[in-house]
Symmetry: C2
């Protein structure tokens, strides 16, 4: 609140003009739950059966065979190379319009395994409040996520009030062409334009925004460079990291403070040390958040 | 005006909600003069001497030797391969901050050879009026140009009132790193993320905006796909092409209506025919524009 007060007070030497008020937010683990797996991966796994209906030859080919078997333990052991094959098969080959419609439809029916709720109800209430508070003070809020840009665009306007043009994510190339009626279409290709994690986050911010943020929020080592880049700007800059230390109400993970390491959302001791040294605020979910989800009493 | 009236009247069945009001504009030849060469190429040619100061070995290597000779006729004959070498040498290797500062500085001193004015005074007054008129009616105006995104960002806010995040251009990759003091920097690499012409325009719109425009403006075959894509959307869509047919007040070029063909801004007969068939409006600079530049009496 002190950051917002000082940057929006026209009489303050630290005033920031409205057009420069940019705040960037990681998504998975920062705005919504990323355990036991990031929702986009759940989508991809759910989509394998639909893809296999259209391409039956995949049914006997790994890793699709394992996914179709429904053996959760085996699915959890899939390698990065397996996952890449699944991403390519489920996220490319369709038009951008088809893809967006399919993600929207999936979100209506898919449920998180722990809370049995649609994934987009598992956003963090305090972060929703931060988004609204910043916007009420003239900040434009962006998502800057390692997740797929088009995936996030399918629900971010409804879920966070963040429009498609303010979603910076991992970007796939599209190919312009025409359908059989001669109507222009954009087809999603299996080629990554930008992998929006680590150094890719400031690179993605440059590509899509062209301005350095004044505030940045993350929860893992994948956000380190975005926070460094944000803090390195002149004048007041805010950097915050969400620490998942509440196993009872959500999850506890990351080696910082002796929590276990995980594939998604690694919060290393080195990141924790850098945060403390650099004036980044570490948010303890356990101690700092009264309520985690809107649906809690 | 009929398009704006119908899309902004809440009682109209063709009403378009504010968040969807996107208008895209090509730059070179649509918003400002692109003859005798696009201003960005003039910048690159001017920058060769500064580059050669730092890398003297280039002084005796083609195509740099020719550029440094000042022989305009020889420079005009450089091949695309030569030009690519010049673009790489002059547009990459520096940080994004250095580059932006350098372009800003260049624009203060460089002059167009015909009017002897800074390039950003050579914008078309009627197009400036269209930009303002659309914005006054809730439209967000974007530039979607084959020119370099970072080049346009250096002046578009001042010149057109269009902020950096609304510039879609040919995009170069950047590399995140640290300067000798450990400060984060983004260095411009000689690698194109997206070539924002032809099919690249709707692809760039998808990448950066994620919404289909309701209005699109261009002047050449490089804008064809952007206009097709725009017009293919449901509801009212506006597509307009500027025809350079006024040799006295500006230039006349493009095979349409028997005008000469040129490298920049080719307006072919086939584009003209498609425009007439598809309900795109062709703007005659000669007949439709009372005044071309703001500085005219």
């Amino acid at each position: 609140m002190e950051f917002v007060r000082t940057t929006t007070d026209a009489s303050s030497p630290r005033f920031v003009s409205t057009e420069k008020r940019i705040a960037t937010f990681d998504q998975d683990g920062t705005l919504w739950v990323e355990k036991p797996t990031v929702p986009q991966l759940a989508y991809c796994l759910d989509r394998v059966s639909a893809v296999a209906e259209k391409k039956p030859e995949l049914k006997n080919v790994e890793p699709f065979k394992t996914v179709l078997s429904g053996d959760r333990a085996a699915v959890a052991k899939l390698t990065m190379s397996d996952l890449k094959k699944i991403l390519v098969a489920t996220l490319t080959g369709m038009t951008t319009d088809q893809y967006r419609a399919d993600v929207k439809q999936w979100l209506v029916t898919a449920k998180d395994p722990r809370w049995k709720k649609p994934y987009n109800e598992l956003t963090y209430q305090p972060m929703q409040e931060v988004l609204k508070y910043l916007r009420a003070n003239g900040y434009r809020t962006y998502i800057v996520s390692g997740g797929g840009q088009d995936f996030i665009r399918a629900y971010a306007e409804q879920t966070y009030g963040i429009p498609p043009e303010q979603i910076v994510g991992s970007m796939g190339r599209t190919a312009y062409g025409y359908d059989k009626d001669g109507k222009p279409i954009l087809t999603k290709l299996p080629e990554l334009v930008l992998n929006d994690v680590d150094a890719g986050k400031p690179e993605g911010i440059q590509l899509m925004i062209g301005r350095r943020p004044y505030a940045a929020f993350g929860n893992s080592t994948g956000d380190r460079q975005m926070l460094e880049y944000t803090k390195a700007g002149a004048g007041p800059r805010l950097a915050m990291l969400v620490l998942h230390d509440d196993a009872a109400r959500e999850y506890a993970y990351g080696p910082a403070q002796g929590l276990p390491d995980t594939r998604e959302g690694t919060f290393t001791q080195s990141l924790y040390d850098q945060a403390k040294k650099s004036g980044w605020t570490v948010i303890s979910m356990k101690n700092d958040w009264k309520r985690i989800f809107a649906f809690e009493q």
